[in-house]
């Protein structure tokens, strides 16, 4: 009982800090047109490279300064969050569904199903992921859906491997054998007995994968392979900031901080959620 309470206390701040940042970023992204102080695409060469608000020579309404075309950095980060979150949710969910389902089948049924699925995963993982992503987007053509498909196609193996191992471990437990003796069908046992025990891992992985999807999306937009160059993306802003690092460091630093905080929050949030979900750890 005491141990449980200590564990819960340890979970608290992590869950709230990470969840808080994610909620803030998510709300900002959803209500971007209402919140963003400026039009993220409006250029004004009179206002180029304004520094953030605490430095000299700022202009009111441009909190984090402007880039080399005079576009408001804060507004661009907020709008960039939209793409980041759409990709994070859609791609991670798709990868999760495919990977977890195959992993569960491989782990629970074993035998031929396991052999086939595991070999496919092995072959899949032999491809370097980022190159694979770039290749996929090059083939599919740039665009939001291509990015989402590319990330899902690459990262389902992450779910598949972990969930397979977990399902395999659970399937050896006596309670699964007991369910067999009672006369439950195999698929029923897989879904009703085994699946609930791997859900905590699925949740943790899902959150982690969202962070990874945000990074991959940033990488793709960094190399200009994500969506159309007009829409602001975090990776795109970082790419631009890199060019003007000596004149305007903030154009590089703020999107980096945003990216790191978001990715870190996703992984921490996942871990904390797992601890909450797992009845044994709870």
């Amino acid at each position: 009982m005491d141990e449980a309470r200590i564990a819960r206390r340890g979970v608290g701040p992590r869950l709230w800090l990470a969840g808080g940042w994610l909620l803030l970023a998510l709300l900002a992204a959803i209500f971007a047109p209402l919140i963003a102080p400026q039009d993220p695409l409006a250029q004004d060469l009179m206002l180029e490279r304004l520094p953030p608000f605490w430095l000299d020579g700022t202009e009111p309404g441009y909190w984090l300064g402007t880039d080399s075309l005079g576009r408001d950095l804060l507004s661009r980060l907020i709008f960039g969050g939209r793409i980041a979150f759409i990709v994070a949710f859609a791609a991670a969910l798709a990868a999760c569904l495919v990977g977890s389902a195959l992993g569960l089948i491989a782990g629970y049924f074993g035998g031929w199903a396991d052999r086939i699925i595991s070999r496919v995963v092995d072959i899949w993982m032999a491809f370097p992921p980022v190159l694979f992503a770039i290749l996929l987007v090059a083939v599919l053509g740039t665009g939001l859906s291509s990015v989402i498909i590319a990330i899902a196609v690459i990262d389902w193996t992450r779910f598949c491997r972990v969930i397979r191992a977990e399902a395999m471990g659970q399937s050896r437990m006596d309670y699964v054998e007991n369910a067999r003796i009672a006369g439950y069908g195999r698929i029923g046992i897989m879904l009703r007995e085994v699946l609930p025990n791997v859900v905590p891992s699925i949740v943790a992985l899902l959150s982690l994968e969202m962070g990874i999807a945000v990074i991959v999306e940033a990488i793709l937009s960094f190399v200009n392979l994500s969506i159309s160059t007009d829409d602001p993306t975090w990776g795109g802003i970082i790419a631009e900031g890199r060019l003007s690092i000596h004149q305007a460091w903030w154009v590089l630093v703020f999107p980096l901080i945003t990216l790191i905080l978001t990715v870190l929050s996703f992984s921490q949030f996942g871990e904390a959620l797992k601890a909450r979900f797992d009845p044994v750890l709870r």
Binding site: G111, M173, D174, E177, I181, A182, V199, P279, V280
Partner: protein, 293 residues
């Protein structure tokens, strides 16, 4: 005489490498009777239990013999019918109560589920039945237990829950697979007494797998002594303890530790006895190979 509750006739099973793990095992359990199955680890006791319940590992193959559950030949049934029959008429009290309950589901639904889904009872009836059984295994606060997750209960509590669950569906036969081995010594006794009590009250036949002759003496009416997958002696429990016939049985009894002088009383099984057993098994295997080519 009515049909035996369980009748195993000359059951043989092999591993993929051709090694026999069960050697023409025959045994029967009459309705309402407790038969103990003793032997050292690796003798195939658990294997017999698993064979009866239809959960042998896929690597073990039954090559000969019949298993009759209340007169119905399990080998003749379609897999689905066999599952249904086994599910309705048998239950398992497992060895390790720590892994035998699903960790992510509360005890209550986990126990009622089987009655509702397999036997088609109403939720209300199942709930009433479960509470009655929890009372019989002397769980004093059923409300709390039903709402608990398995990890919130002690090992002894979990084994009580599993015993209650095993008896709940009124099976004809329960396979108890070393049900006290994983428990604390002080709890072992209580659990054993509970199983004996419920067995008498419900008139359930039990195939009781154990390596502990003390347990055999307390709970069973009949015994089969198993060595290397072969029944070497079978007798009424009282007769076995009064006059063990097979040298191996005598050696097993001599190897039981006594509280008064635990170290001196622990005698390993004699070399001559083991040699005799090896010869016995070799003869049996040879006869078997001749019959099967």
């Amino acid at each position: 005489m009515s049909a035996a509750c369980l009748d195993i006739r000359s059951l043989s099973a092999v591993l993929p490498n051709g090694q026999r793990v069960l050697r023409s095992v025959s045994l029967s359990v009459q309705p309402g009777e407790v038969r103990a199955l003793v032997g050292e680890s690796g003798a195939g006791k658990t294997m017999i239990g698993k064979a009866v319940l239809g959960v042998l590992p896929s690597s073990v193959r039954i090559v000969e013999g019949d298993m009759l559950l209340e007169g119905e030949d399990l080998g003749q049934l379609q897999p689905k019918a066999r599952r249904t029959l086994i599910g309705a008429r048998t239950a398992l009290i497992p060895q390790d109560p720590l892994t035998a309950l699903n960790p992510s589901r509360r005890i209550g639904p986990q126990m009622t589920d089987r009655l509702v889904r397999i036997l088609g009872w109403s939720g209300e009836r199942a709930d009433k039945r479960i509470r009655q059984l929890l009372d019989e295994v002397q769980i004093r606060d059923p409300e709390r237990v039903l709402k608990s997750y398995p990890h919130e209960l002690s090992g002894g509590m979990r084994q009580r829950v599993l015993i209650a669950a095993a008896f709940a569906a009124e099976p004809r036969l329960i396979v108890a697979d070393e049900p006290t081995t994983a428990l604390d010594v002080t709890v072992q006794k209580q659990i054993l007494r509970l199983i004996a009590q419920l067995q008498r009250d419900h008139g359930t036949a039990i195939l009781f797998v154990t390596h502990d002759l003390g347990v055999v003496a307390k709970i069973s009416q009949k015994v089969s002594v198993l060595y290397a997958g072969k029944v070497v002696e079978e007798a009424d429990t009282a007769d076995l303890f009064a006059a063990p016939q097979h040298p191996y049985t005598r050696a097993l009894m001599a190897a039981t530790p006594r509280y008064t002088d635990p170290l001196a009383s622990l005698k390993p099984v004699d070399e001559a006895v083991l040699a005799g057993l090896a010869a016995e098994i070799a003869t049996a295997d040879q006869a078997w190979r001749q019959r099967h080519g």
